[in-house]
């Protein structure tokens, strides 16, 4: 007997032959090398047998030459199965489409919930999120990750101090803490104004209170500038004194700057690679080819693919390679001094109030040794030196 399985793959049919001269018909078939098997007799002058599907065409001419009528009863085997599968492929396609849709919907942004913000801020946040591409119906793969949303929101919206972004399933939960704009502190309690630091007074602007110093006066820290006690002797009244006293103060700033320094900068060239990882296997989707960068920084963003509430072991990975270059900066002596001065100025500015002014600067000493510039600069600054000091009741003058 032939291997039944191979016959099955090729396909086989059951044939019923009836009429006179069945034996002759079978002989004719065997002589023309058509394989038949399982020949069974059914009553008088009718037999059934099985044969290969590929021989079906040949059998017809033999049937015509004999007195037999043939009938095909049963079709079995892979070709017929395939045909049926194709006919019912709608079911399989539907099931596949169903899973695909669920997979797609599971990875979409379905809601954004903002808590703790007033309507105005909420609107602002929603607008900002929109700009970032975080909105309903977006795929999570193409949306920034939670940390960067959080960072961008707190950077771009001034009205919030802190925002906590959490992704729960398909919904972003934003917990907002709004900045309570501090009101101008109103010193209802009576106070004096005293000097914060050693200075020479340049300008005075007193709203309330009795100034006790004058322009060009040299004051020491803690010295009374504006008294909160007004009125004549005996009929005194304490008031919260208010005003701004500008004094010239002095700062000394020392800067050490190496003439030669190396640092790393991004060249601006970058390459993005997209991939799909299943377990430890990484399948690149886009961004092929090897990296030409000698030195680079890698930023990796991984997004797990979710299915309903489960996370699949499949994730979408977005890798950004940024080329890094090493730059060596060498200052000449003159440039070194300029840069050091600049640095000193910046340093002093950052430590001062916004309304302070740099009036003048004087280089105290500058030197170069061991490839380093050392510079000391004396700055003249005009700033508000007034500081409140409460008048404690019961204190006698």
């Amino acid at each position: 007997m032939k291997n039944q399985w191979i016959e099955f793959y090729r396909g086989l049919v059951t044939v019923k032959a009836s009429g006179k001269g069945i034996e002759r018909f079978i002989n004719a078939l065997t002589r023309s090398e058509i394989n038949i098997w399982n020949v069974k007799n059914h009553g008088t002058q009718s037999v059934t047998f099985k044969m290969k599907l590929e021989d079906v065409k040949k059998i017809r001419s033999h049937a015509r030459n004999s007195d037999c009528r043939i009938e095909f009863l049963q079709r079995a085997g892979a070709p017929f199965l395939m045909k049926r599968l194709l006919k019912n492929s709608g079911f399989a396609a539907g099931a596949l489409a169903f899973f695909a849709v669920i997979l797609l919907l599971s990875n979409m942004v379905w809601g954004i919930e903002i808590k703790g913000a007033n309507p105005a801020t909420e609107y602002q946040i929603i607008k900002e999120l929109d700009k970032m591409g975080v909105k309903k119906g977006k795929l999570q793969f193409f949306v920034d990750n939670v940390e960067s949303i959080q960072r961008k929101l707190s950077n771009n919206i001034e009205a919030i101090t802190w925002v906590g972004v959490e992704l729960k399933g398909t919904t972003y939960h934003l917990q907002v803490v709004e900045k309570n704009e501090p009101k101008k502190p109103e010193y209802l309690s009576p106070r004096h104004l005293v000097a914060k630091k050693k200075a020479v007074i340049v300008d005075m602007f007193v709203e309330e209170g009795r100034p006790v110093v004058d322009i060009h006066d040299h004051v020491q820290p803690g010295q009374l500038l504006v008294s909160g006690i007004i009125g004549k002797e005996g009929q005194t009244e304490t008031v919260p004194s208010k005003g701004e006293i500008f004094g010239e103060t002095w700062y000394k700033s020392e800067v050490i700057l190496p003439l030669k320094s190396t640092f790393k900068v991004f060249s601006g060239n970058e390459k993005v690679k997209h991939a799909l990882t299943i377990g430890n296997l990484e399948i690149p989707i886009w961004g092929f080819g090897s990296l030409e960068f000698e030195e680079y920084e890698l930023e990796e963003k991984e997004q797990r693919v979710k299915f309903l509430k489960w996370e699949l072991p499949i994730s979408y990975v977005n890798k950004t390679f940024r080329e890094r270059e090493q730059v060596t900066r060498i200052y000449s002596n003159k440039e070194g001094f300029e840069a050091a001065k600049d640095l000193a100025r910046k340093k002093i500015k950052s430590s001062l109030d916004e309304n302070a002014k740099v009036m003048g600067e004087k280089v105290l000493h500058q030197s170069i040794d061991n490839g380093k510039v050392t510079i000391a600069i004396h700055f003249q600054i005009i700033e508000n030196i007034a500081e409140g000091q409460p008048i404690i009741q019961g204190d006698s003058e």
Partner: protein, 96 residues
Amino acid sequence: MAKKWGQFVRGWMTKNMELPQDVMMDLPRITMIGQIHIYIENHRGLLAFSDKELRLLLKQGQLLIRGKAFVIKTILPEEILLEGKIDSVTYISDTD
């Protein structure tokens, strides 16, 4: 005369050279497994087939197999495998 002579030579050769008879003399080789299987090689075609009877043409004469529930498991130009319950195997000679 010539045919008889040929047969004589073949008969002699098989006898004296120990060659298998079925090859030399175009005789059927029949293998039976109990009553359930019969395997016949070197037949010359089907003459009659029903579930109780199978008649095969041989080079000389016919072979008649009787029994019950016959099914031809395989049929090739010179071979046939029959399954069923075999009661008798009879040779029918032309010359009779």
